[in-house]
Symmetry: C2
Subunit: 407 residues, 2 copies
């Protein structure tokens, strides 16, 4: 067993940095000017894992991609468009998703059963397939860093920044890279799929183990963020692991498992926090940490309830140390609590201790709340559960972005 975690953050790398990955992103015409079609490719069929929206209404591309993840169990490429979610588009939507899969497979000369499809954009509008067809011809993936950036840009909707993160770790003495990119922001213009995430790694790991790792990591990363509580019809996170790093197959029994798992968790956590920070109209990242819940699940549930409360979100926007709203959200989270044991801190300053209000300096708190990251800590003392959630403040701009897209 390694006693320490080997981990290096590589700030200038991206999804094409793990061995054997290439990418491309172009403008095809689904959006007015910006890039809107992208492809991510592995040199060889890669082990694959995916997590998908829990919404009972699911967009057509999810059906196609789930077949690749659950039936083929290998993925070699994923084609992604922004500008149209291909959701609630009936039978034609499904035909279009399969056609996108086929177009990408033909372009790359691989089996279509190895190609995933993801879409984000307007709900309820039929895909314009002519631009997509022309766009696929323009997609010439390579391993240049710029091509990775093109991919990351082409999947954005109203995101204000690209979301990329890359870590290197050591497995069997070999460097293994895990890199990810995502889009988030919210659902707008009129309905953007909330979240797409793509993670590449050259680690050698079977799909089954990869899926377990991704599912576990997702609970405390992608599933622990909220922008507005609206679960989209298109949420998708895909990991492709092509094995080109040459390590022995990974599983929890492998002595360097923690290195790989931590890299996957850090990539996911970075992307999740980037999405929360870049929520529609957001000016601040809010991190809520809960300690002493009856379980880790309950800790995360409470943290997510607090960070999702519109009243907490507006209070943070207004630099108001409004702990009453925090304790009220803890109370209605549905988790086991004892009101007389709750302690609440904002940015390290204690607001409530064992359920009783503590005098605090309003001025000092306003300074804390003016920062771009606001940390809320809740201690419950009813168990050993611990967890985090991340979100953003609720601002005039959120209302503006979501109320006025057609006016």
């Amino acid at each position: 067993m390694t006693s320490t975690i080997e981990m290096k953050k590589l700030s200038s790398k991206n999804i094409v940095s793990p061995k054997g990955f290439t990418a491309a992103g172009v403008h095809c015409g689904l959006k007015h000017k910006k890039k809107d079609l992208a492809i991510l490719v592995s040199e060889v069929p890669a082990s694959v894992a995916g997590v998908f929206t829990t919404n009972a209404v699911q967009a057509a591309p999810l059906k196609v991609t789930k077949e690749v993840v659950y039936e083929t169990k290998k993925m070699q490429a994923v084609i992604v468009n922004s500008g149209n979610a291909n959701a609630c588009t009936g039978k034609q939507g499904l035909l279009d998703a399969y056609e996108m899969q086929l177009l990408a497979a033909q372009k790359l000369g691989i089996a279509s059963s190895l190609v995933g499809v993801a879409s984000t954009g307007v709900i309820g509008e039929i895909m314009k397939m002519e631009p997509v067809k022309k766009g696929v011809e323009l997609l010439n993936p390579d391993s240049k860093l710029e091509s990775g950036i093109d991919f990351s840009q082409a999947i954005l909707t109203t995101d204000t920044v690209m979301k990329n993160t890359t870590y290197a770790t050591i497995i069997d003495g070999k460097e293994v890279i895990v890199s990810g990119t995502a889009k988030g922001s919210g659902m707008i213009e009129p309905n953007m799929a909330t979240m797409l995430g793509f993670i590449t790694t050259d680690a050698n790991i079977e799909s089954e183990e990869l899926q377990k790792a991704l599912s576990s990591v997702t609970d405390c990363t992608f599933n622990s963020i909220t922008v507005d509580g609206d679960t989209s019809t298109n949420d998708t996170v895909i990991v492709m692991a092509n094995g080109l790093a040459g390590n022995d197959p990974l599983s929890p029994a492998h002595p360097d498992w923690e290195n790989f798992y931590t890299a996957l968790r850090l990539v996911s956590e970075d992307l999740a926090k980037s999405i929360a920070r870049d929520g529609e109209g957001a000016t601040k990242l809010i991190e809520v940490e809960v300690d002493g819940a009856v379980s880790d699940e309950e800790a995360r549930k409470i943290a997510k309830t607090v960070v999702g409360s519109p009243l907490v979100k507006t209070a943070v926007f207004g630099c108001d140390a409004n702990w009453g709203r925090i304790i009220a959200a803890v109370g209605y989270s549905g988790a086991v609590i004892d009101p007389d044991k709750i302690t609440i801190k904002i940015g390290g300053a204690t607001m409530v201790e064992n359920g009783e209000p503590i005098q605090f300096s309003e001025e000092a708190l306003i300074e804390i709340l003016k920062q771009h990251e606001v940390k809320i800590f809740v201690s419950l003392e009813v168990g050993k559960g611990h967890g985090f959630a991340w979100g953003c403040d609720l601002t005039y701009d959120y209302v503006q972005i979501n109320a006025s897209y057609r006016s």
Copy 2:
């Protein structure tokens, strides 16, 4: 059995209109200028029923009032203040709530075990008891309509309008009146208890039957509204039934039961809708009706999920016929649905039929969405469940009210 429901809405009456009820409301100094202390009294001890917040953090007055409802099982008066919620105030808060109960009982010359207490306002600040003591001396309840209005005004926080409704029905050939008043609006300055409701009736009914009726009615009225999804620490609805109408004791076996039940339901529904319509910053009442769910409970759950979606709320504010957000909310409600059977209408215009988008006139829809009441209808065709929920749009003013109270 009566084959038709006997019901008359009495627009100029209020909570003192049922026989034997008196009220008063004064300014005592918990708020700057407005009335902030009120009392509602029955000539004789009344049967009582109550529903209370499900928040695990509950304000001190709820403990006192629950003892009256669940142990005394009769109530003769309730004292209410606005400006301070007496929540998260520890042992002192509980002592203060009991002192309010005692002060009211002494003033009226009745047992304190017959007096309920309700508070709404700031969370986490100790009650100023001096103003309350002086205020109680000023409370001289009588049966004038103006005194009922004084009560309704004194319980308000950031509500922009009073909320009153009164119905008369016939039971055993005698007129029975059911009247209610409420406060709602949201949680502000910094934390206002979301909802207080007080219903008076001269009907003769035991507390046990009254509680069953109130609990049943609450599910499809007070529990079917949402302003911001934040469940307060102080929510309370109380019904007092003093029996002075002289009818035979009511129960579901009574031939006129439906008359009474309907009056109670209509009073509750009117108050609930008034609260939703007057939500913080709201410009519109949104009504969501769901038909064809697997049960009435699921229908209400879906309706409440749709009406609570920030994206649906901002779309209605922006007059945007954004049915994609509605179907997405239906999908993540957690209810059983079949995406291919969903039909969605806005103000009677069909947006989606059996899961497929329908062409509609944007202009006509903008006109529909400009109204002060917007009706959304969702048909699921997976069962016979039916239900409603009410809410309001999400506006700049909501953010302004909740972000800037201290600045």
